[in-house]
C-alpha cells in the first residue's frame, strides 16, 4: 500500500480503520493464521473505557484487565467462536471470521442493526470497511436472540479472495 | 503640548454619557469612566419613558418639557435610530376616591400646560380594549413619550467619541484626590490616574461612595425596582399604562387606598410600557434593600399579579426575563445637580430616581452650561448638592 493511500485511510481521517493500522495492533488476527472454525476478530484500536467483550466471553479468551481502557487481547486458540462477544461489543467492532471455510469461501459473522434483516440463503453484497462493494455473499443464518439485545448477528460466506476486506453487507 | 483632560465623568450610565456628549460638543476634553459594562446599571434595567403624567407641577415637570425638546433635537442631529415613540399614556383609576384626587391633580397639571384629561370607562376601553372591568376611568395624555435607552446611549457614545470623548469601561474609580495645582486626580482600579480640573459624579445609586472619596455627602439611597419583560407580542392597546393607586398615596399622604400587604411591602405600582423590540416592560417594585440588584419570587409574581389584575388578557403572554435596577432616590424627589461647596470643580449629577432616561438631556445641558460658565435662565438652587445643609467639605 502506498504512503498516500495509507494516509487517506487512517481511522481518524477516513473513519474506517485501515489494514495497516490493524496489522500493527497485537490483538488483530493476521490472515496467515488459520483456524478450523471461525474465531473472534477484534477491530478495536483505541483505548476507550470498555470491557463487555471480556465479560461476555464464556471461556476467558478475551482479556482487558483491571484498567478498562486497555485494548482487548484475544487468544484465538481458546476462542470457540460462540459469537457472544460480537453482540456484546457496544462499538460493533468484533466479527467472527474464518479465512478457509469451504470451497474457496471465507466465513463471517457480523453485527447488524438495520431493518429489514436478510434471510437465510439470501444473496447479499458484501462491503469493506469503507462501505465499498467487494463481492457477493450468501447468508448462512441470522441470529436474533433476547441475549443479543436487538443486535442481530448475520452469518455469511463469501469469496475468500476478499477475506480481509469484507466486514459487513450492503443494507437492504 | 498635548491638551489634558477638562472633565472626568465618573459613571457611564445615560447621565454620564449625555453629560460627556454635551460637554464634548462644547469642545471640552472628556473622559467617562464606568466600573461596569455598557448599560450595566439602572439605565439598562428601566423603562423607556419620558413621562409627564406622574409629575407634580414644579421643576421636575418643567425639566421634562425641556428634555423632550432636547431629545427631539438630538434625534435630528444624530440621524440615528433611537426608537422615539409617542404612544401617550393612561393612569388607570379604580374607584371614586382615586378619581377625585386624580381629577384635581389633572386640573393642576393642565394649568401648568400639560395636555392631559380624565376620560371615562368607555373611552378608556376604546384605547385599551383588554382593560379589566373594574377600571372606572383613566387619565389620558398624548404627551407621554418614550425613547429606547440602549439606542440613546449607543448614539450618545458614538457621537461623543466622534467629538473626542473617551470611555473606559470595567474600570472602577478607587480614589479621587486634589492635587497641588488645584486639579483633581482620579485613580482607577487598573492603576491609571486621570487629571482634570473638573470631576462629575454621575454614578447614580453609587454616587454617595464617589462623593465620599472627596469627603462630600450625597444623600442618595438605592431603591430597587424589579421589572418583568414580556415576549414580543402585537400591541395590546394604544397607549402605555400606569395605575393611580400608588400616585394617589404619593400625592395625598395618608389617603386610604386598597392595597394588599404584598403591594405595600414591595411598594408595587403599575408601569406597563411597550418597549423597543415590541416587548412589554412591566413594573415595578420600590424596595429599600441596599445595593442588592437581585430579583425575588415575591417581586416577580407581585408584578405579574398586578399586571393581570388590570389586563387579564396578558395571562397567555410569556415573560422572558426579570431584572432589577437601583433607582437613585433623593430625600425630596429632585435630582442633585451642581458643584459642591468648597470643592471647586467637583460636581454631582445624580439622583434621578425613575427619571434618568427622561431627564438625561436636560441634565447634561445644564451640567455643561454650569461647567462652561454659560448663563442659565433658571435658578438651580433647588437641585444643588448643597441644599441639604451642613454636608459640604470642611
Amino acid at each position: 500500500m502506498s504512503e498516500v493511500r495509507e494516509k487517506e485511510s487512517r481511522l481518524k481521517v477516513d473513519g474506517a480503520v485501515s489494514l495497516i493500522e490493524l496489522h500493527e495492533t497485537v490483538e488483530y488476527i493476521l490472515p496467515d493464521e488459520h483456524y478450523d472454525h471461525p474465531v473472534a476478530v477484534i477491530e478495536c484500536i483505541e483505548g476507550i473505557p470498555c470491557n463487555p467483550c471480556e465479560t461476555a466471553c464464556p471461556v476467558g479468551a478475551i482479556v482487558v484487565g483491571d484498567d478498562i481502557t486497555t485494548l482487548p487481547v484475544i487468544d484465538p486458540t481458546i476462542c470457540t467462536g460462540c459469537g457472544l462477544c460480537v453482540a456484546a461489543c457496544p462499538g460493533l467492532a468484533i466479527y467472527l471470521k474464518q479465512q478457509h471455510h469451504s470451497d474457496g469461501l471465507s466465513y463471517i459473522a457480523f453485527p447488524y442493526e438495520y431493518l429489514p434483516l436478510p434471510e437465510k440463503g439470501q444473496a447479499v453484497t458484501m462491503v469493506d470497511r469503507r462501505g465499498q462493494h467487494v463481492c457477493s455473499g450468501t447468508v448462512v443464518r441470522v441470529i436474533k436472540t433476547k441475549r443479543f439485545d436487538r443486535t442481530a448477528i448475520v452469518h455469511a460466506t463469501y469469496d475468500s479472495a476478499f477475506y480481509e476486506d469484507v466486514v459487513n453487507m450492503v443494507r437492504l | 503640548m498635548a491638551k489634558g483632560l477638562d472633565v472626568v465623568i465618573v459613571g457611564g450610565g445615560i447621565i454620564g454619557l449625555a453629560g460627556g456628549y454635551f460637554l464634548s460638543r462644547k469642545k471640552k476634553r472628556v473622559l467617562v469612566i464606568d466600573k461596569g459594562g455598557f448599560a450595566d446599571g439602572a439605565s439598562g434595567a428601566c423603562d423607556d419613558m419620558i413621562l409627564f403624567q406622574s409629575k407634580k407641577p414644579g421643576i421636575n415637570l418643567e425639566l421634562t418639557f425641556e428634555s423632550l425638546e432636547l431629545y427631539k433635537r438630538l434625534i435630528v442631529d444624530f440621524d440615528d435610530e433611537m426608537q422615539f415613540k409617542n404612544l401617550g399614556g393612561m393612569v388607570l383609576i379604580e374607584n371614586d376616591a382615586e378619581l377625585a384626587i386624580m381629577e384635581q391633580f389633572v386640573a393642576e397639571q393642565r394649568s401648568y400646560g400639560l395636555d392631559v384629561e380624565v376620560i371615562g370607562q368607555q373611552d378608556a376601553r376604546k384605547k385599551q380594549p383588554f382593560l379589566s372591568d373594574h377600571i372606572i376611568a383613566s387619565t389620558y395624555s398624548m404627551m407621554d413619550s418614550q425613547i429606547d435607552p440602549f439606542h440613546v446611549m449607543r448614539a450618545l457614545e458614538k457621537h461623543g467619541l466622534k467629538l473626542g470623548m473617551g470611555i473606559q469601561r470595567r474600570n472602577g474609580v478607587v480614589a479621587i484626590e486634589r492635587l497641588g495645582n488645584g486639579n483633581w486626580s482620579v485613580v482607577c482600579e487598573d492603576g491609571s490616574t486621570h487629571e482634570a480640573p473638573v470631576v462629575v459624579n454621575a454614578a447614580g445609586a453609587w454616587a454617595p461612595s464617589i462623593a465620599q472619596m472627596v469627603g462630600a455627602t450625597v444623600p442618595i439611597v438605592p431603591k430597587r425596582g424589579q421589572i418583568v419583560l414580556s415576549e414580543r407580542i402585537p400591541p395590546i392597546g394604544e397607549t402605555n399604562l400606569w395605575n393611580a393607586k400608588y400616585l394617589v398615596t404619593k400625592l395625598h399622604k395618608g389617603t386610604e387606598v386598597q392595597m394588599t400587604d404584598e403591594e405595600r411591602e414591595l411598594g408595587l405600582s403599575l408601569a406597563f410600557t411597550r418597549s423597543a423590540g415590541n416587548t412589554y416592560l412591566m413594573g415595578s417594585t420600590r424596595e429599600y434593600v441596599g445595593y442588592d440588584k437581585g430579583t425575588t419570587i415575591a417581586g416577580i409574581r407581585g408584578i405579574i399579579d398586578m399586571t393581570l389584575s388590570y389586563l387579564p388578557k396578558m395571562k397567555d403572554v410569556g415573560i422572558v426575563r426579570a431584572m432589577a435596577g437601583l433607582r437613585p432616590e433623593t430625600p425630596d424627589g429632585k435630582m442633585i445637580l451642581g458643584e459642591h461647596k468648597n470643592l471647586d470643580g467637583f460636581y454631582t449629577a445624580a439622583g434621578h430616581e425613575g427619571d434618568g432616561i427622561a431627564l438625561a438631556p436636560v441634565t447634561a445641558k445644564l451640567l455643561s452650561d454650569l461647567i462652561c460658565g454659560n448663563p442659565i435662565d433658571r435658578d438651580l438652587g433647588e437641585l444643588s448638592p448643597n441644599r441639604f445643609g451642613g454636608m459640604a467639605h470642611e
Binding site: L115 | I233, P234, K313, D316, V317, G318
Partner: protein, 103 residues
C-alpha cells in the same frame, strides 16, 4: 408520511389513538400525546413561522424548547413552543407570521 413505523431497536411503532388537528385550516392526523412539531413533521410540514423583519421561514432547530424558533399560534395564542407542547383533539394551529395577532 415521515413516520418511522418499524425500527431495528425500538420495534414497530405502537398503535396510538389519533386526534385531528387543524393546521392553517387543513385537518391533519396526529398521534395523541405527541408534540405539535412532531405531528407537523410527520405530515410533511416543516415551516412553522415567518420571521418579523425578514419574513423568512423557520422550522425546528433545537427540538427541546430552548431556541424557541418553532413557535406557532396555537388556539389563538401566539409564541407557543411547538416542540414541547402536546397536540390535543381539535387544536387549531397556525403558521405564525411575525409576532402573531390577538384573536
Amino acid at each position: 408520511m415521515n413516520r418511522i413505523t418499524d425500527h431495528p431497536i425500538l420495534g414497530p411503532l405502537e398503535e396510538a389513538e389519533m386526534v385531528d388537528i387543524i393546521v392553517d385550516g387543513q385537518v391533519m392526523q396526529a398521534r395523541k400525546g405527541e408534540m405539535i412539531a412532531a405531528a407537523l413533521m410527520a405530515n410533511g410540514k416543516n415551516t412553522f413561522r415567518k420571521t418579523v423583519k425578514r419574513e423568512e421561514p423557520r422550522g425546528i432547530y433545537c427540538g427541546i424548547g430552548r431556541c424557541t424558533d418553532c413557535v406557532m399560534t396555537v388556539n389563538g395564542i401566539p409564541n407557543v413552543r411547538t416542540c414541547v407542547t402536546e397536540v390535543e383533539e381539535g387544536m387549531v394551529i397556525q403558521t405564525q407570521i411575525g409576532s402573531g395577532e390577538w384573536q
